[in-house]
Structure formats: structure tokens, C-alpha cells
Symmetry: C2
């Protein structure tokens, strides 16, 4: 497929800033990302900001393989940054996309990635308004950075709002993205799919219902264990997790049992953990359960006064253990 009338593979010329770069931008990026701000082709997008406060974030994505069950690096790069804005209580609005392409990359793979970025952005109501492309030596890989802006019209969420007595809700089963990527790498065939998704609907539904959300985080690298430790430290509380309440899909559980993995340390790309007052817990659970991507949500922990350690787990047989943040490597290039 000779999309660019130049070649079927990315060459160093596509990163020159000259005619080949221009053609790449026009034939691929503009074709799919099309919007007023981007189409002006200036050095920066000019945007209206009808709000005094914004949320602003960035994330780079280096996942391998770049295509996997349930998504690809492009979809991940859009969802990941949108979820980071969302969990701060912002309404995601604009994204930028910076591409680092390795020489030799198939242009049809790049087109596939761009198409799914454009589709995910469209489905989420956001625009990709500025971009950049560089080419490096290598073997056809791709790295994507996205940054994002969201408008804040409500009180921003903050970990310091969390108080003893609060309930902790996770929006669905843990470990799917991690198990999916690892299955691809190990060449294991199964039906485990990445949970890669934008969680806007469930959060909007909570806000619409007037829920007082204390704080919220998306559960990515480092897993739930790491996120809970961070929140416990920021709020000076101890979080006690109930082991038998943690949702894990049966196939992911089998996969973890065989390989000795702990879903509490595994990466997810479409899960959030939400802190609310105990009396709101059932209501929030029901809102999440009736929202897209939330049908398997569960109340999994309660917030206690600070004890010796930030996070503990009450095990199935009633014992208690400490849950540290992830030590060492996890799975390299998981996102």
C-alpha cells in the first residue's frame, strides 16, 4: 500500500522536516485527526479555554507489541492520558501527539494506529490539536507521547480528601492488560484482552448524580498495590483491602496462578479506583456497574486511621499482610 506516494516504510526523510515530513503529515495525520485547530498547520494550536482552571498531563507509551488483543499503542496513548485527566475531576478536551518512529516502520501499521487514535478521540469527545514526528534508527518500532488538557468546572479531586471510614471501589477486574501483553510476548494463545478504555462515562455519571468523590486514580503501571500506597501516604491513612472482594476474571486468575503473578501488582489500562464516604458506597457501586466498562466493579477496601503501614490486606482465611508498592521491574514496556 503506497499511501504516501513515497515508500511503504518509514525512512529518515520522514523526520527531516522537509517535503517527506509534510507529505506524511498531510496524508496520514491530517487525514485522520482533522479539526480546525490542527488544520491551521501553525507551530502551536490556538484554543478557547472557557474555564479558569485546567488539568494538564503527559504520558509516553512504549508498549510492545504495538498491536495486541483489545487495542494498540495508539488507542492506549489516547485512553491513558484521557483517564489521567478524568481522575483529577477534569473534562478532557484537547490532546497533543508526539510520534517517534523507527526507520523501517510499515506505513500501513502507522495508519492503523493513527486511525484508532482518531476514533478513540472522537468517541471521547476530544480533539488532537497539535503533533510532532521524529524518526530514529531501529527496527520499525514506535513510541507515542500524548499530553492532554481538561477543563475543571468542579472541585478537583485530591488524595488529601480521603478520611478514615471512606470506602474504596475498583471499577472492574484487575490484571487484564498486563496478562494480555505478557501472553503476546510469551506466544501464549488465550482470549485475554487488554482492558484499554476511556472511563469517561462512569465518572460523568457519578458527577451527574452529585456524588462527593474524595479522590480517584486510574490503576496502571505498578498496579493497585502501588496506587493505594500512594493515596494512603498522601492522606496519612491506612487502607485495608479485603482479598476475597478483589475482582479478577477467571481466565486472568488461571494465568496468574500458573505464572505466579499477583493481580494487585499488574498493570491495567481501563480501571479506576474511587474513594467515597461509606454512606455513598453502594450508590456509587451501582452507578459504576451500570456504566460502560464498569459491570464488574466492587467495593474492595476501607480507609482506617493511620497504622504502622500504609496498606494491609485481610486474607481469605482472616489473616493480615502488608501490601508494599511494587519493587523491582514489573513487566517492562507494559504501556
Amino acid at each position: 500500500m503506497k499511501i504516501l506516494g513515497i515508500s511503504e516504510k518509514i525512512t529518515m526523510a520522514h523526520g527531516s522536516g522537509g517535503s517527506a515530513t509534510k507529505k506524511l503529515i498531510e496524508d496520514l495525520f491530517f487525514k485522520y485527526f482533522q479539526n480546525d485547530a490542527l488544520d491551521k498547520m501553525e507551530d502551536a494550536a490556538i484554543l478557547d479555554i472557557p474555564s479558569d482552571k485546567i488539568a494538564y498531563t503527559t504520558d509516553s507509551f512504549v508498549v510492545t507489541p504495538i498491536f495486541f488483543q483489545g487495542g494498540n499503542i495508539g488507542k492506549l496513548a489516547v485512553c491513558g492520558t484521557l483517564n489521567d485527566l478524568l481522575v483529577m475531576g477534569a473534562e478532557p478536551k484537547y490532546l497533543t501527539a508526539g510520534f517517534i518512529l523507527e526507520e523501517g516502520m510499515d506505513i500501513k501499521d502507522l495508519e492503523e494506529i493513527i486511525k484508532s487514535m482518531a476514533q478513540t478521540a472522537k468517541d471521547s469527545g476530544v480533539k488532537i490539536v497539535a503533533g510532532d514526528t521524529k524518526v530514529i534508527e531501529g527496527h520499525g518500532g514506535i513510541y507515542i507521547n500524548t499530553s492532554g488538557i481538561g477543563l475543571i468546572n468542579n472541585k478537583p479531586f485530591h488524595a488529601s480528601n480521603v478520611k478514615p471510614g471512606d470506602a474504596v471501589i475498583v471499577s472492574g477486574p484487575l490484571g487484564n492488560h498486563h496478562a494480555c501483553i505478557l501472553s503476546h510476548r510469551m506466544n501464549i494463545r488465550n482470549s485475554i484482552s487488554s482492558d484499554c478504555a476511556y472511563l469517561g462515562e462512569m465518572v460523568q455519571n457519578m458527577i451527574k448524580a452529585g456524588i462527593d468523590i474524595k479522590t480517584m486514580r486510574d490503576v496502571t503501571r505498578g498496579g493497585l498495590a502501588t496506587v493505594l500506597n500512594e493515596i494512603a501516604d498522601s492522606s496519612n491513612t491506612t487502607i485495608n483491602l479485603k482479598e476475597d472482594s478483589i475482582p479478577v476474571d477467571p481466565e486472568v486468575k488461571s494465568f496468574c496462578d500458573i505464572l505466579g503473578l499477583d493481580p494487585l501488582y499488574m498493570a491495567n489500562e481501563g480501571k479506576l479506583v474511587c474513594f467515597v464516604a461509606q454512606e455513598d458506597a453502594e450508590k456509587v457501586l451501582n452507578i459504576i456497574k451500570s456504566s460502560k466498562y464498569g459491570e464488574k466493579a466492587a467495593i474492595i477496601a476501607e480507609v482506617l486511621k493511620r497504622e504502622n503501614v500504609p496498606v494491609t490486606v485481610t486474607t481469605r482465611i482472616g489473616g493480615k499482610r502488608i501490601l508494599n508498592i511494587l519493587q523491582g521491574e514489573g513487566l517492562p514496556r507494559i504501556c
Copy 2:
């Protein structure tokens, strides 16, 4: 130097999202980038935006070598994105920084880079408010993405404002960054230094003086030839460049003569080209000349009614030639 109490080199664990990542962030990024928004350690920074309009941009940096005369990849990553905001008529305010580190990178090199990013940001009056770190396999390299937000309080500049009769001013000699990087790669010893710099002062001085700036661009990858072609196309004009008015430092000129390079196609990292009405040209030239990094500015071209081609050059001996945009490669990984 055991900065992180973990190792002197970047390992895969630094990209895990767990304890090693936390230590890297706290011991290096927070130490140098310190500010209210970043210190909150949330998934996104919460920022006040006292303006209805913003400029928003992104750029990834893959330059090799990562340290060069006059700067390093970090300084470049800050200046590059700030200049992109500046030339849109915005006041740069906030940056994000996404790091992709190759395993084996010296942590003291990383510290050096972060220090100069922090210093450049401070000197430019901007804050680095959000960041991300990933680790990939490799040989100790680094890629940095920066995105940036600037406030727009004036009429934004736009290429379509350019009209026949306008004058074109370049803020200084061309080709220095390109010649510097190439000298390093070829192991040639000379005193050519990258022009890597943030050009805020000269633009602020123009705005303060009430100049009606038609449009402005920073002259990076693809060189002046490429930028002028883009502006001529956007404004439906033809730009006629006077060859003997184009400033080039003598050492860069010798370097180009020997290697057969054309400064008009070479990358710069601290040069802008500015379009103003003919009657403002001398005044603007003097403002730039008396500003930091502008002492060798020159009026180099005039805007004509659209002819057959977007950009022409009147040569030293009075002939005319066409100046196309950069074809092919330029110098890979120049920025």
C-alpha cells in the same frame, strides 16, 4: 555518584511505576523541577488559566549527541517548545516533560540534562508541571517530549496576515545548530556552538513597542527555505530572498563551503523569522538587534504578489533562482 541509592545507571526497574520509579522521580525530577503543581504528585497538574485563549504545542527531541557545544537535549527540549509558543504570539507558561530513557543511561548524565531543563525553564519564567518516565532497551540514550501551554492576550499571529510589500527579518545567522551537531558527529574540532536559546526577550520587546507583527516562525528542521515556503503558501504570496543579506557566521560559512552545505536548509534552534510591514522593518530590526540573541539580525527578503513559485532568491550576481522546501533527509536526529 550514587544519586538514587539504587544504581548509577538506569535500569528497567526505573520504568516500572513502582519503588525505583518513585525514587527516580523524587531524587531527580522533583529536586530540580520543584513547583506547587508538580509537587502534588497527582495524575495531572491543576493550573490557573487567566486567559480565554491559549497556545498549545508538543515536540519530541531525539538529538544525538545528547550533549553538544552550547547545550544538550534537555535545554533544546525546553527552548524548542517555548519558541513554538512564542512565535504564535503567546506568553509561555507551563511545560510537561515525558522522558523515554534507554537502559544503561548514566544517571549523572540524566541529572545534568534535568538541571539544565530546570535552569532554562526558570530563566524563561515557565514551570514544568507534569512529567512521565519510561525505560526501554538500548544503549544509554534518551528521548524527551515536551508539550507547552502559553497564554494569548493579544491577537495571535497568523501566516495569512502576510501581504505583498511586507519585510522579512531573520533574528540572526543561520546554520549554527546544524553545523555544531554535524561537527560532533564527524569528530571535527571547531568553535561552532549551537544557537539553542529561548527568544522571549526579543519578542516581548517587539510587543511592548506596539509593533504589528504579521507572523513569526522559529527556523528549525528544514531550515529557512522550508519555513518561507510554508508561509508563502499559507499567505498566497511569493517571498524573494536577497542572497547577500542572509547572515551566516564566518566559521559556519567555511564549514558549509567545505562540506557543500546550504545554510538555508540547515536547522537552527534559536532563530526566528518575522514578517512586518515595510515601514516597521527598520524599527523591528533595531529592537531585535538590541535584544538578547538578536545582535546579528538582518532584513533578508520582501513579500511579493504570488508568482509561479512560493520562494525565489536573488543571487549575489543578480540572477534569480527557485528555493524549494527541503527534499530528502537533511541531517537525521538534528533535534
